[in-house]
Symmetry: D2
Subunit: 388 residues, 4 copies
């Protein structure tokens, strides 16, 4: 019997791109074992996935409530310890709620729920449950984003003055692009929530800004719209924003930029220097300091000039690139450490993400929509994430 | 006696960085000769500059009105044919006006004048004069910006949907940076005009957007402010904007981004593909088209795949980089062709820039200030550039 | 009971960097399970590794001969099916030989053995065994290297004319660098074999050339030496070479290039176009064709312009970078497919690497040494890899 | 009357690409005036060029010997002071010799002459003349190459250990490419000399190595050949080499790399760090030092971290790129300073290039040919450049 953390998964059946990524990420470091799953609303598809994973048939479930109930009924030594939620957005809240109510920690795909109200409700459930809850803001989990954060928190840039974040994608750039399985639910308000592009990817950009700078976004002035005819939800938008220290920023998120892949990038300008990072070349961080040559910080477990925490997020020595799956795996590894601590009743580390980030992300989406619907007036975000 | 176009210069005495650049650019292609100048308010400094340029003492003037008067009095075969205005902003209008009134074409550093009202007044003067007037929007004169423009005008990207332009600089990032000669006038409202950063560099970004896309900016929603304590004018700001085809955009301009050099860059997203260009690597244009590998177009007189006009803007074959001085020289070369046509009474080419661009640039600055002063409300620009 | 391929591992105990990488790579795609191991010559360290992996104590072995014997004695349904050899070089041959003799397929770290004679002997053993044998030439397993290969084999570059490959590292750039565990055996002739740098990394460069071009290297003219005083083996060298179609090339490999990480890169020049790839930005392939803009091919499971085989080597869509671990995992995945075919007695795919590549790699090292020892005279390689 | 240095030009008539570049470079900084020329063997073409340059008809000559004689007969205050030689290779020697014999300094396109014997003979003529002689090794005149040189001379990399230089071009990649005016003489032994590609561009690579490292190349082991059928001279080749401090290197030069532009690049590896520079992005120098992030040094007159001499080679502040013409102009500016010093009878600065570099360049070509003709045996270069 190994000592791994036991995970159950909801969603991620055959053909679901993100399910396979989650499984690779979860198991990469040998800390987590998948022991149960409810992989698909289609029972046959779920069964096949479970079989491929080597699960016994009694731990492949046809619906998630049964899964929660039956797993909770198992012995403490064999039942799953946490649930990974990798369904379309509309199920994030009910699955997470059911899991928490049955005593399971939850690691969920973002967004935490479809709307701000839902995610605030989820937050209350989590607090009551005294269980761990994590969100896969994957891009913030790259080592060089942590390096940026640590440099900023240590004051190496001086105070942050301006941030520019952009997340151009092109995969929904024409009407025909909207018919794939992934596209369909993302452009459907009943499944995706009240926003399309902003809910799906501007939230990543928002989280990246807050995580990298250590500063909360407090005001937004936005302009969202739908470029491709016939879409009910925004597929493109941009915003001006302010951070809590009164730094200013621009945020652009779009899914109709034909020719773009997944070009998330961020520039952070401080009083002593600036940083630039792009997701497609994730192992490099550009550091520009006044009166000095630009520096390219490089990820690597052996890079002596990196922050110690950053090095521990690297699995390979300098010059051997890691990627998206490893960033994802960093989230799972940190979460597994928390769950193990809970198992052992010791104090857990902070998993680096939380329902708070999820609430602020949804408050940002809500604020952006409100602003956009009111001639781009400035909307304060704190009243949204922290309502009376 | 050579056949070159005869140029006079106002401003650009010893120690003025931009004066030397203008002279290199003006003479690079052997089309223009500097025959007269009023280089400095300091007579001794002006005299030295003239001597270094090989001018005879009688054509080095102590004030520009004398220069205009005496040059106008010379024979048609020897007097200067146009005036390059390279003074601080506050003198752009009076010098240009004096030159036009004495019958000389004018090529002026941007901005055309300090305020929108001034530039509208200048426009009337130009129209009355029936003379040529050009502005050195240098960045729009790089060959690969023209390539972007030509591709867009030819419909190769489909309709433009979104633009992102940013112009981060760091040279005014601290209070101490403000004491150089160049910094002093740029941060002084009486000399620079009603805006600091936006008047100085956001206008370049604005022009680059309009020139590259062939679309006018029609609305702006902006947030300008002063980051370094004690500055009377903005040193940082950003805006959302709309183009005349209802495409959206973001514009950022800042002079307090410590560590940045002159990192002007633009992304243009269309329905079929996207373009990216950055001024610091000016000979490359990234072209991303749906379903195809990214392409890197490379400047070069012999690059067969480039637009013919673009190739004629290149002096060297592929792989031999040109730079900022050559971009500047493209403006002078085009202007010299106009002046030569006027001399010969033949039809001139369009010099690719004009007082119209200058008016729209100042309308943009005015609109951005108005928006920023009114909680970033959207401001329409056409009523500003085209008042009743 | 799951259906995974069962793997045993020799080497890779706690603290061995490459062992952990192999385990992540082996298990990433859910096709392979580690069921047995002999992880360290230090029994306690081996025991801890096994425990962490969740192995039962009876399948963690103190020496590899016992492991082979006892595993062979297990039932066909439970015994390991192949052995991953991740020891220092000196053990590659004896471990692989023992595994083959006991009926286990072998996937070995490169080089296959310390010397050309050893590897030729191993080849005979493999042939007799009728088992699969693979070598982890990891860099050749990146998707974009396969893209290069497929484009060349399809004639898209015309005939290959010239190749330039370089592998500069800096980790042995001073005498003090030689004292780590990894460095010690690599600089010790009894453990590393007859070459240091060339055996360790020039073999990767050699394989990359042959794999990407589909052409065998036939002649070499080399200059190897030891830069850091006191080293018994080469730590730096370069060679001119010829390929079987008479294309020419240069190869450089060095471990004393202070400041370099792992900067393996290759340029391939053909009669119609050229390719460039670098390991540190592995998801991009530069393609330069005559009279066309440079193209940047981007890895991605959904990149429609990529070769179909290449797409199947990608786990993520365009713009989500994969890295070194995924390249490694491609080797394991292909090998698992072979082993599964053998298990099921069906026809296997070609795993893309083989003892032949290993033999030619060692012939190249031997040829380079001979050349270097003889004033860099040209040495023919075929007589070495294919002796009478 | 201005105070500029008076230059005469031989070659560079209409349609000659390099003539126009020389003229732009010569006049860019306002230090040099073209006063006389013998631009073409075609009198009409020469006349047109002279007229465009504003030369009086009596200073446009039909043959260079007449030019030398008549200019020498003019007053000291008006006659040309130096001659720029921009003809095809075969005329470099006779024109330079004639100029020197008539008392004119010479700045010549490289190579100085067709063969080693010729250039040694020219060296004697120069010494006897006590006049200045310069060669346009343009790539070594980029500011960031000087930065590399100064860092190495100051010991910042420790001793140089290895160099890799490559100069791939594609413009002669097919037989059809050989019919342009420029291609014809370059592939004709009677005009180009004893080597094609190596004489034309490997000499640039050789000079770049020696200039950047401050070390002379002492031995070469080369393999030259002709790839395109029917060429009498090499169009492709590579070499191993040794520098005087026993550092090793590789050099590749080719004109048949289809798809390449002018991709000259150099890597220099030292005991403390490494440098990388590429001509196509000339304003950046990559600096990799052990245990530190990679640094990107950026050209700029105001870059405080650059060597003072380097800054004085920059005309623009950081972030405003300079290019090939400016590099060329650096050579002319330095040469003009020498000539002015000679005019004023003061001591001149070292122009940074000399007949010595030209002799060593031709010795390198001769050595490479000898080596290649003798199965790539090592050939010592000093006996060639410094014969008894």
């Amino acid at each position: 019997m190994n000592n791994r953390i036991r995970m159950g998964m909801v969603g991620g059946g055959e053909g679901a791109f993100i399910g396979a990524i989650h499984r690779m990420a979860a198991t990469l470091d040998g800390q987590i074992e998948i022991v149960a799953g409810c992989f698909s609303s289609n029972p046959e598809r779920g069964r096949i996935t479970g079989e491929k994973l080597g699960l016994t048939a009694d731990r492949v479930y046809g619906d998630y409530t049964t899964m929660m109930r039956k797993e909770a009924a198992r012995s403490a030594a064999t039942r799953m310890e946490f649930v990974a939620v990798v369904t379309p957005n509309a199920l994030h809240l009910p699955v997470a709620t059911a899991a928490l109510e049955h005593g399971f920690h939850v690691l969920s795909d973002k967004p935490a729920a479809r709307t701000l109200e839902e995610v605030l409700s989820l937050k209350r459930t989590i607090i009551q449950s005294q269980l761990f809850y994590g969100l896969t803001h994957t891009y913030s989990a790259y080592p060089m984003v942590l390096q940026a954060r640590e440099m900023i928190l240590a004051g190496q840039l001086g105070s942050v003055r301006r941030v520019a974040v952009a997340y151009p994608q092109g995969w929904l750039s024409s009407a025909e692009d909207g018919y794939s399985k992934q596209a369909l639910w993302r452009t459907d308000p009943t499944q995706a929530g009240e926003s399309g592009c902003f809910g799906d990817i501007a939230t990543h950009a928002h989280n990246l800004v807050e995580y990298a700078t250590g500063l909360r976004m407090t005001e937004v002035c936005a302009d969202l719209h739908s470029v491709v005819a016939g879409r009910a939800l925004d597929d493109d938008g941009a915003a001006l924003f302010k951070l809590e220290n009164s730094a200013r920023g621009t945020l652009m998120a779009s899914q109709i930029c034909a020719g773009e892949g997944n070009n998330l990038n961020i520039s952070i300008y401080g009083e002593k220097g600036s940083l630039f990072w792009q997701q497609q070349i994730p192992n490099q961080l550009q550091v520009k300091r006044k009166g000095r040559p630009m520096e390219i910080f490089q990820a690597g477990a052996d890079c002596v000039y990196l922050n110690e925490k950053v090095r521990s997020r690297c699995r390979t020595p300098e010059g051997h690139p890691e990627g998206y799956i490893e960033a994802f795996a960093n989230i799972y590894r940190d979460f597994a450490i928390q769950v193990r601590a809970a198992r052992n009743d010791t104090v857990a580390i902070d998993a680096g993400d939380s329902i708070e980030a999820g609430v602020r992300g949804m408050a940002f989406v809500r604020g952006a929509i409100e602003s956009s619907n009111n001639h781009s007036r400035w909307v304060a975000l704190e009243p949204l994430w922290n309502p009376l």
